[in-house]
Structure formats: structure tokens, C-alpha cells
Symmetry: C2
Subunit: 404 residues, 2 copies
Amino acid sequence: MTKIIVQKFGGTSVGSVERIDAVADIIADASKTAKIVVVVSAMAGETNKLVNLAKNFSENPDKREFDALVSTGETVSSALLSLALHSKGIKAKSYSASQISMKTTDTYSKAKILDVNSEKILQVIKEETIPIITGFQGVTEDGDITTLGRGGSDTTAVAIAAQIGAERCDIYTDVDGIYTTDPKIVPNAKKLDSITMEEMLELAGQGAKVMQTRAVEFANKYNVPVRVLSSFNEGSGTLITLEEESMENALISGIAFQKDQVKFTLHGVGDIPGTAFKILGPISDAEVEVDVIVQNVSVDGKTDFTFTVPYEDQETVIKIIDSIKDEVKFKQMMVDSDIAKVSLVGVGMRSQAGVASRAFKALSENEVNIQIICTSEIKLTMVIDKNLTDKAVKILHEEFDLEN
Amino acid sequence: MTKIIVQKFGGTSVGSVERIDAVADIIADASKTAKIVVVVSAMAGETNKLVNLAKNFSENPDKREFDALVSTGETVSSALLSLALHSKGIKAKSYSASQISMKTTDTYSKAKILDVNSEKILQVIKEETIPIITGFQGVTEDGDITTLGRGGSDTTAVAIAAQIGAERCDIYTDVDGIYTTDPKIVPNAKKLDSITMEEMLELAGQGAKVMQTRAVEFANKYNVPVRVLSSFNEGSGTLITLEEESMENALISGIAFQKDQVKFTLHGVGDIPGTAFKILGPISDAEVEVDVIVQNVSVDGKTDFTFTVPYEDQETVIKIIDSIKDEVKFKQMMVDSDIAKVSLVGVGMRSQAGVASRAFKALSENEVNIQIICTSEIKLTMVIDKNLTDKAVKILHEEFDLEN
């Protein structure tokens, strides 16, 4: 059987009638050599417009209604893209989450994919028709509409690619590929031809913004090769590979940073088993992504417990901490949103010592103070003052010779 | 059990955030004395905006995609109205056609309702929650989205009222009720407190524009009392009653007119059995509404066959006639869109003779030529020159003493 490629187009890629027409050309071209399945986001700006409509009635609208509302953007773009393909003589049909049974949990606005009717998609392909599937949307067991959270269309695309056994998932966006860091901050940042799944996972998690973390996790878990490329310019983009397929690894692949974070510190927590779970359990239950978790050594049986969460979840987390304060005794809660995370990522770090000390030295020589340090096998994350983010990224980019 | 009222709000009634808020007040108020089920149209202008988006890709877009696209307007307004009710402390949940299994035929853009899951709606009511249901939308057996055609939300509302055994269906719109004729043409036209289903059926069919014909048919068939009233001004509107409930009938209840019509005449058709069916069968199969059907007496076994259809269906009908021209032999097809239909409607016509002659006399004295006459038990329709429509309506309104 001919190979199947899943193509995902983001909001800017379908941001206007002209862009939708251009995307239809890309699909038509690709359909000459492969079976194509398309996943599409809402037209850029549409989701925000819908969010603002909801905000007229409530600052914190009911999530079930909110999801039903904002998911309409994808229904619109999928139908339009299908019409654009028809106008070029290509057979296509739009499908909503409900129509392909994209089953999710009922955690509205942050739903997780459980299953998808791959038979139906394969049947459409068999009929020589290109399925144009709404990204971002899901449906609960009860038939209620859910959404996967911002950037969820990437996850839709990778999940479908995994389920139907696609050869590759192409994520079309407004950038040419994955760079060593944000070219807006470091103009001579370099485009990578390939990157390993693990590195991409760390980069995405740290806010490289090109692809949603969960989508990379899915790709990693189900071994779906992913390519990130531009729908605006021709080019081969960046291939996200399984590690064994990749070339000799550079020491550092890239530098990620994230400014929209908030740091929580619980001061004077009892250093007894189960404390971390008591704090992070309910936060995780609320589907808040917790990153950088640090617990200092204990003094007199008391310790400080620090973690970061996305800024948008600040109020949720404050409420949760408040609800568990009798159970988890602490002296004081400190909340600081004036911070940023900067991370060095590279599978080469595994085999080469000294990355951390080189980074600390370079930053301290330039008077960037490091508040928190947190390391994994292939990542070194530092929490610093938000105002120093750009400076720190430039220093590290130069220090590790990532320039073009 | 408390009585159930279905309330339907049209596009202008929910045309802005402020309007949606006002409608939520109407619902909140009504919910104090009855169980409420709401059916809602798209915000005014939204459907046209979506139609225009589609027109960018094709003048005649694929109807499956078109329906998926335009139906999103109702999903948006139902979610927003639900949020507006939440902001007033009222429990509400939005439901799409798919969620309440509003099953229809797969005649996209003109789908007909087959069934609806009334159990689900009743269950929501039981949970003290107001269901806010998308009008206009349907779903095929295969799960594809359909729409019921312009004004289809009325039909949705009445069909639901019938299925759940509602006490009444209130159609909220931007007019205060049903008038003897269009007040824009005759300023002293009178609002009717009640009108019979049959009269309303004839009025709606003739383009009174307040309520969709199919909705009135449904109401008539399932004995659902309907009230037409304004969401902008307080008032009791016009109650559409079963005949036995109504007061003594006036001779004429109102005058309807319709300008967006086109008249087809097939000249020299063989006057043999089955001809009318051969012509009208395929037109009806294409879901085109045929009105005024006239066949003159035969001369030499040949006759003229005339009928009117909505202007928007002109091209469709021309194609159909073309496809059957070998079967139905005729000498010439004449198409005239420069016409209008004017109708006198009233159950009183049954028992009182002379209405037709009074109408003809009044029009002829004022030099309005009548091209075609077509009568039913409670209606007298005349096809005249489109330019004389307003004049004819005024003459007849005065002749039959309908002034306020």
C-alpha cells in the first residue's frame, strides 16, 4: 500500500482565504506521491475572538461551554480547506472530532486523547478522498465536546499518525524548523536538520513553542517520525528522529527559555515522607503542568519546597495550596512571577561532563544570578530573573558555539 | 409535573452580546413558572459571514462542507447563551444537533427532521438544567452535519416541542406578532391576537417571513400551540391556535406577498395523464418548493403548464426541465422573474362567498392586472407584476377593512 503522511497545518498557515488556498496547493502536491491525512487548526485569531466573546459573560467561563464554543474555529477551517481542495479538483471531506470518534477524557480545555476511530479514517483514504480533520477537538464518552488545550492540534496529528500507522507526521507552521534558540533573540541561531525526540521533548517542554510537548511525547511513545517545516517557504524543515537514527550528537542542541512561568515556594514544610505528593498530587489532578521541582536539604526537620507552573495556572494553584494548608503544614507561601526558565538541551550532555560549570561560569561572569538549578540527563534548567532572559540566552548561545 | 415551554430565539434576538444578555433575562424570568427548553439561531450576520467565506472557494460549494461550516454559528450562540445564563446563576447546558441526536435526511442544506432524542432533553430538564439547543442543525445517520435551510431553527423548536410534549412553543423574533400585512407597506396594519394554524400556514407559505412554513406544518400536525412574540418589546404576541379554540373568524385575517419568485410556463405540453407528475416529481425531489400550479384547459390536446418557485432555485429548475425535455414534450419554456404573489388568507372565506370577486374588482379598478389566479379553501393567490406589489397590498388591505 502507498505510504500515508499526516500533514498538520497551524493557525497562521490557514490564517486567511489566500493561505488556505496555498495550503491546498501543498496538500495537492503531496497527494501525488502519498496518501494524505490532514489535521488543521483554527484560522489565526479566530480562537482568540471566540475566547473574547466568552469573556463578555464571565472571566472564568464554564469549561464545557467554553470548549464547545472555541472548538468551532477548527470546524470552520476544516470545511474551508476541504472546499479549497474541491476547487482544485481534489476529493476531500472534513471531519470533526465527533465524526471520527476522537475520544478524550472529560477534563475540559485540557482533555487527553483516549482513542480514535482509525478504521473510519482509513476507509476515507481508501475511497481516494483526503480526510481533513479538525485538530484541537475531542469528544467525551457522553458526546460532549472537549479541547486539548492550546497547541493541541499537534497532538491530534501525531495521535492520528500513530493510530493509522502513518509513515511520518509533517507539522507545518510559520517557522522553517527547529533552531538552536529563538532567532528573534539570537539572530544567528542555526536551523537544525535533525534533532532527537528526547531533545525535542526537552526543548518543547521548555517552551520552544514550535510544537506542543504532549505531541512530542506521543511521537516518542509511538515512534512516529515527525518533521517540522514551513507552509510559507519551501524547505525540508527539521526531522525529529529516534536517537539511533541520528547523526553524531552535538554537545548542546539548543537553548530553550520560557517567561510565562510562576515560582511557588512553600517555606518551612515538614520534611517527612509523602509531603511532595500531598502538594503536587492535587495540582497534577487539576491538570496543571508542574516543572522544576526543588526541595532543599532539611534544617531542623523543616525544608523549603519550590516548583514552577505556567502563569495562567497561578490562581488555580493558590486555591489548591490554600485547600491543603491544614494538611501540609508550612510557615509561608511565596509566589514569584518575575522569573524565567532557561535550559540547555542536548543528548551529548550525557557523555560529556562540565556543561553545567561552563554555563554557570559564563552567566556569573556576566552578572546573571541563578536562583534555582535543576538537571536531567540531557537538560540543564536554570531559573533566573525574567528581565535577564534575553541576555542569558545570548551568552549561552555564544558559549556553546551554536552560531550559524 | 410542571409544564414545559420551548422558547426559540432568532438571529436578531441574539445578534450581540447585549442581546444575548437580554434574552438570558427573558429565559430566567420564564423559568420561574415553567420548565424551559431553549432553541437558538446563529447571531445575526454570522451565517452570512460563513456563507461568504465559502464563496471564496466556490460559487456552488459542496453542500456537505457548506453545512458543516454554516452550522457553527448556532454552536457559538448556544454556548454563549448558556454562559450568559450561568452569569445570572441559572443552570444551563448547550447541546448541538449531534448531542441530542437530531436525526435528519441527508439532503444537505434542506434536510428534513426524522427524529430527536427527547429522552436526553427530558433528562437535562430533570436535572434542573435548561438545555440550550442549536437550531438549524441536524445530523445524518452517518454522523454528518446537515442544516434545515434558512429559518430552520423554527422547525427545530416546534419539532422538539412536539417530541417532548411541551405545552407551547414561543417563537421570539424582532416583530411583535403577526400583522394583517407587512406594516412597512401598510402603516396601519393591525397586530392579530390570535390566528388559526391554517391561516398561519397559508400566510407563512406566502412569505409572511415571521415563521418558517415547515415549522407551522409541524405545529399543525402535532397540535403544538405556538406563540410569536418579540424579544425586544414586552407583549403577548400572536397565539397560533387550533381552529376550534379560536374566536369567531374574521373574513380575511391577513394579506401575504412574496416578491422573490419566478414563474415557469411550459407552453404546448401534451394534456395526457402523468404530465404534471413528470414535471413536478423531479423538481420536488430536488427539494424545491413549488407553489401556484396552474394548468389551462386543453386546446387540441395541448395545454400550458405554469408554476412558481423561489428565485434562488431558478437555475436548478431550468436544469431539471432541460433534463426531462425529451420525456415531457413541450413547445417552449418561458421563465419570468418579474412577478409577485399576493394572497388573501382567512378561514372565514370558507363560509362567505364573494371574496374573490371583491378582490378582483378592487384591483381592476386600480389597474392592477392579475396574471394568474389560484385558490384554496382559505386562500386566494394572485400573481401580478412585481412593481405593483405594494400598491395591490394597500388596495386589498383597505378593501377588506383590516386597518387598525
